[in-house]
């Protein structure tokens, strides 16, 4: 059943995505930026998905600490790992855009810096997990670390409001947004595809993690006998 749900979600995401690629390709070029502006349709949804993922990781971590149910630990790992990939997509697409528009691959700007720190923090989460052997201790410490790491996420989000940065101000869902409605629709649809894809990948990773736990359990039991 779960298998079918995952395949269904992936297929749906693929269909929406391909359909939307066409919609994006027929949009007219932006006046100042030309072709490259289309990268925003991937850059922003990837960031939104990764940020949502970090919030899910936070909630899963808190729930693990409260209930000591290993399902939440598995969920936290799964969502963090996939989120790291999405944040990487966000950073890479941003970097490509910056090369074209700003002329440099990277600028040490608050938004860019904080997003990169965020990536490093969650990579640290995975490294910490690797360094711990005992499952309960690993889950507990990882959950604590995840809670600490999440404090950086609001800084990423608000950095463009708190400091003067060269990162563009938000053009969607804000008062001074200047995007025509069909562009907003294209972005929204891509966002939907991206979230579906994220959820499907997380579910696959979650199943792996649960299987791993079961194998570990069986191995320990076998060892005890």
């Amino acid at each position: 059943m779960r298998q079918k749900v995952i395949i269904g979600m992936l297929a749906l995401a693929a269909i929406i995505f391909v359909r939307n690629l066409y919609a994006i390709s027929v949009l007219p070029d932006e006046v100042n930026q030309g072709q490259i502006f289309r990268i925003i349709f991937f850059h922003v949804p990837a960031a939104a998905a990764a940020m949502t993922g970090s919030a899910v990781a936070l909630i899963a971590s808190v729930l693990f600490l409260a209930k000591k149910d290993f399902f939440y630990d598995s969920l936290a790992v799964a969502v963090t790992e996939v989120g790291l990939a999405f944040l990487a997509v966000n950073l890479v697409t941003g970097s490509i855009w910056a090369r074209v528009i700003w002329g440099v691959w990277w600028a040490w700007d608050p938004r860019l810096t904080s997003a990169l720190i965020c990536w490093i923090l969650y990579a640290g989460y995975l490294i910490l997990r690797q360094a711990l052997e005992e499952p309960t201790q690993r889950a507990t410490f990882a959950a604590v670390y995840s809670i600490f790491a999440f404090t950086d996420v609001p800084i990423v989000y608000f950095s463009i409001r708190w400091w003067r940065t060269i990162h563009p101000q938000p053009v969607f869902f804000s008062k001074n947004g200047s995007f025509p409605p069909d562009w907003g629709r294209a972005l929204g649809v891509n966002m939907l595809a991206m979230f579906l894809f994220y959820a499907a990948l997380t579910m696959i990773r979650l199943r792996q993690e649960q299987t791993q736990r079961e194998i570990d359990y069986l191995r320990r039991t076998a060892h005890a006998i």
Binding site: T113, S114, I117, G124, I127, A143, V144, Y145, I147, D152
Partner: protein, 226 residues
């Protein structure tokens, strides 16, 4: 009242142990001097350039030297199973955190207050022109460093590669604080007051300290006793 008493007991215990062996503070201080020396080769320490990068330079020294103290904070409890004794004591995790953090704070501040004049002499900088604001920034920044560092010192104490894991986990977490502290320190060493746009960094430091102290107080119990 009882809570404060517990905190004081742990702080004095840690400071007394440190004063008898002086292992962390000596290592930390020597390390600070060595880094200051090496960094002076990285660029020509004329007064102009030094002022510009003084913030970054000092805070690199502070964090590196501070990590040594923090690493020892819980590692010191490992021989003779002192950690188990400490956990068995009827002291809540938050009191343990606050006690240890205060002891670490005193030690790291001591190293910093010695490193500052050494920096002034080696790099030929008059750093005292904005003395009290500088002390405020150093105090706030160091507390942020100590609060996070103490929790993670407890968290990494039983991990393989403890000495590497602590900085690897803690440095990225401290970056917002370090950014603010570095910028303000550079400003104050150059003799300018904190004004205008730069007050946002001071607020960031306050906010950072409050958030992480609160998190540490809540989560220390979980880290120590599971």
């Amino acid at each position: 009242m009882r809570f404060l008493q517990q905190v004081t007991v742990i702080t004095t215990k840690d400071l007394r142990a440190e004063m008898r062996t002086k292992e962390a503070i000596n290592a930390s201080f020597a390390f600070a001097i060595v880094i200051l020396l090496i960094l002076s080769f990285a660029f020509d320490p004329t007064e102009e350039t030094t002022r510009e990068i003084s913030g970054g330079l000092l805070w690199i020294v502070f964090t590196f030297a501070g990590t040594l103290v923090l690493n020892r904070s819980f590692a010191r409890e490992l021989p003779n199973d002192c950690l188990d004794g400490l956990l068995a004591a009827p002291v809540p995790g938050s009191a343990l955190f606050l006690g240890k953090a205060l002891a670490n704070y005193v030690l790291i501040l001591a190293v910093e207050l010695v490193a500052l004049p050494v920096f002034g002499i080696f790099y030929n900088v008059r750093w005292t022109r904005q003395f009290w604001p500088l002390m405020l920034v150093v105090g706030l920044g160091t507390w942020g460093l100590t609060a996070i560092g103490t929790v993670f010192s407890a968290l990494t104490v039983n991990i393989r590669l403890r000495e590497v894991m602590l900085p690897m986990l803690v440095y990225p977490l401290m970056i917002p604080m370090l950014l603010g502290a570095m910028r303000l320190t550079a400003l104050l060493v150059a003799g300018q007051p904190i004004a205008g746009d730069d007050t946002v960094w001071l607020r960031l430091l306050f906010g950072f300290d409050i958030i992480f102290t609160a998190l540490a107080l809540v989560l220390m119990e979980t880290v120590l006793r599971g």
